[in-house]
């Protein structure tokens, strides 16, 4: 990797630290909560950016993968998990250390799976589901693919909404924190706020660096070729079906990770996280971010979610994202933050400033 690509990442890291220091110093560190949540949402956006912008495959069901990770976390760290097993099996699992038995504040029995097990399960389930959905669905193109993924998202939404173990319309609350290191938890406790902020952002920046390297590699070139023309990419010897499926699975796992940690951080999840409007929101953010532009998607993912979480859009929250999508598709279907438009602005400023510099 060249220095030029290290520098922006280092800068981003510095800004992240600066924000925390400033907010803690000025007593506005409650803002860190929304910045932490924004980072988890931005993780979903980054994964979708890879899928939509680079591989050229739209998904209108990404909120479902977010919810899949979130609900796995919620079920496995609350007493809901007792519904999964009979009493005998439960006891056996406790003995084997696969389920931890403790008592809650009221002295009642509280069950949860250890963090590594629930995280592993969340990832495995997401991989399995996205694989099973991806194989038939990715044979479709364009708006057919959009419709199919929309259908998938709706099905999962109804399942979360209507199943007892997922808490039906109430969702699952009182999800216990997830222990990352001894004494350090992903959870809502105010004493852990700064840790949670850094944890979310390290995860996000790590994902960004991973994807930046991926799109610059041979894989990235192959993806852009598929985006350009699937047939021609096939004629170059690129296994288009396999690439599309792998990228779909990777981006689903990103979404699930965001959902997993968000649920622990918030201490709960509800069915609206799997809703269609959430999926539309992710697609809108990727469109605003410039489609094949990881930096733009990250920036927009954080900024727009932060504004939304702070309540700046009021009751028009979903409408704002719907309107954004319409405006982008009508005026700049290729996205706003694009290399071409940036170089156009540079060219324009160069021309305008020419007589002065000369």
């Amino acid at each position: 990797m060249k220095i030029s690509s290290h520098l922006p990442v280092a800068l981003l890291g510095a800004i992240v630290v600066l924000f925390q220091v400033l907010m803690s110093a000025t007593g506005t560190d409650y803002l860190l909560i929304q910045l932490t949540m924004s980072a988890y949402y931005a993780l979903v956006v980054l994964g979708l950016c890879l899928l939509m912008g680079y591989a050229g495959q739209i998904s209108m069901g990404h909120a479902a993968f977010f919810a899949l990770g979130g609900y796995t976390a919620a079920v496995l760290s609350t007493n809901n998990l007792t519904q999964l097993f009979s009493a005998g099996v439960l006891e056996w699992l406790v003995q084997k250390g696969l389920i931890i038995l403790s008592t809650d504040a009221y002295g009642a029995a509280a069950y949860r799976a250890p963090a590594w097990l629930s995280l592993g399960t969340a990832v495995l389930i997401t991989v399995a589901v996205s694989f099973a959905i991806g194989i038939p669905v990715l044979r479709l193109k364009g708006h057919y693919l959009a419709m199919a993924t929309l259908g998938f998202g709706t099905i999962l939404y109804r399942i979360f909404l209507g199943t007892r173990i997922f808490g039906e319309a109430d969702g699952i609350s009182a999800v216990r924190p997830c222990e990352i290191l001894p004494g350090l938890f992903v959870g809502g406790d105010p004493s852990q706020r700064v840790f949670n902020y850094y944890f979310a952002w390290i995860l996000l920046i790590g994902a960004l660096v991973l994807l930046l390297n991926l799109v610059r590699s041979r894989v990235g070139r192959a993806l852009r070729a598929i985006h350009g023309s699937e047939e021609a990419a096939g004629a170059m010897g690129i296994d288009t079906a396999r690439y599309k499926l792998n990228i779909f699975v990777i981006s689903a796992v990103f979404a699930a990770l965001g959902g997993y940690f968000m649920t622990h951080f918030n201490g709960g999840i509800g069915p609206s996280e799997a809703g269609i409007m959430k999926s539309v929101r992710y697609v809108a953010i990727v469109a605003v971010g410039g489609m094949a532009n990881l930096w733009g998607c990250l920036l927009m993912g954080v900024v727009l979610n932060f504004l939304s979480l702070r309540g700046y859009f009021g009751s028009y929250d979903d409408a704002v994202f719907g309107a954004l999508l319409i405006i982008i598709m009508a005026l700049a279907p290729e996205g706003i933050f694009r290399k071409e438009s940036i170089s156009r602005i540079k060219e324009l400023t160069r021309r305008l400033s020419w007589p002065f510099w000369k």
Partner: protein, 244 residues
């Protein structure tokens, strides 16, 4: 080099190729001429594995490649220059060429890629001049050169060109066809599919005439050029001038 026997293929319930039998010897330019919808493109796509064959066999260097996925067929050395060029518009000229070497770029052959890049640039100096430009901003002729250069990057034994003259000015077509002759003298074998029968037969060694999914005529390029039916149907000569 390539031997196809009784090949049948199609899309869904539509049968397009109805028992095609052709062969191409090493170092030849062989052309397939025929009208729109006669199955020429389908034949190339079936050889490349993009369309699955239903019956018959395709032997490339005595190896049956029928039913293999495209990525393996390309890796074996059959390279397609698709109809309408299909360059990757949002990638630079340089990136388009590197993508052409995709099947080689994970193996030990990787080290030879820069060398091949230079040889493509030597063949098409205009591409070197524009190597940082996005492929979508090239002219039609330059895009065709890029598509040919891209296929050369796979170090193919057999290059299949699908209508390289499509949509190009006559002077550019002439230039492209001169390059195809150059490719043969470099040792490549070429299968050229064309609607521009006159130009194609002008440079080919042998040719086949295809009609509604079958080969109806074959012969040396000279024989086909002199054939009255070919003259009437594909070279635009009418009965009277033939009769004279």
């Amino acid at each position: 080099m390539l031997r196809i026997r009784n090949l049948e293929s199609g899309y869904g319930s539509l049968k397009v190729l109805r028992g095609v039998t052709i062969h191409i010897n090493s170092g030849e330019i062989v052309t397939i001429i025929g009208a729109n919808g006669s199955g020429k493109t389908t034949l190339l796509e079936t050889i490349t594995g993009i369309v699955r064959p239903r019956a018959g066999e395709i032997l490339y260097k005595k190896r049956n490649i029928s039913g293999m996925p495209p990525e393996r067929i390309v890796a074996l050395g059959c390279s397609l220059v698709p109809e309408g060029r299909q360059v990757f518009a949002t990638m630079t000229v340089h990136e388009n060429l590197v993508i052409g070497a995709y099947t080689r770029s994970s193996g030990p052959d990787r080290e030879n890629v820069p060398e091949d890049l230079e040889s493509v640039y030597a063949l098409f100096p205009i591409l070197k001049e524009r190597n940082r430009q996005l492929a979508g901003t090239l002219s039609g002729g330059e895009q065709q050169m890029l598509a040919i250069g891209r296929s050369l990057m796979a170090r193919p034994g057999l290059i299949m060109l699908d209508e390289p003259s499509m949509g190009l000015a006559p002077i550019i077509v002439k230039h492209i066809f001169e390059i195809i002759i150059q490719l043969r003298s470099r040792g490549n074998t070429i299968l050229l599919v064309e609607q521009n029968a006159k130009a194609a037969l002008g440079i080919a060694d042998r040719g086949y005439v295809m009609e509604t999914g079958s080969i109806v005529l074959e012969g040396t390029a000279r024989e086909l050029l002199d054939n009255h039916d070919v003259q009437r149907a594909y070279l635009g000569k009418d009965y009277k001038s033939i009769g004279e």
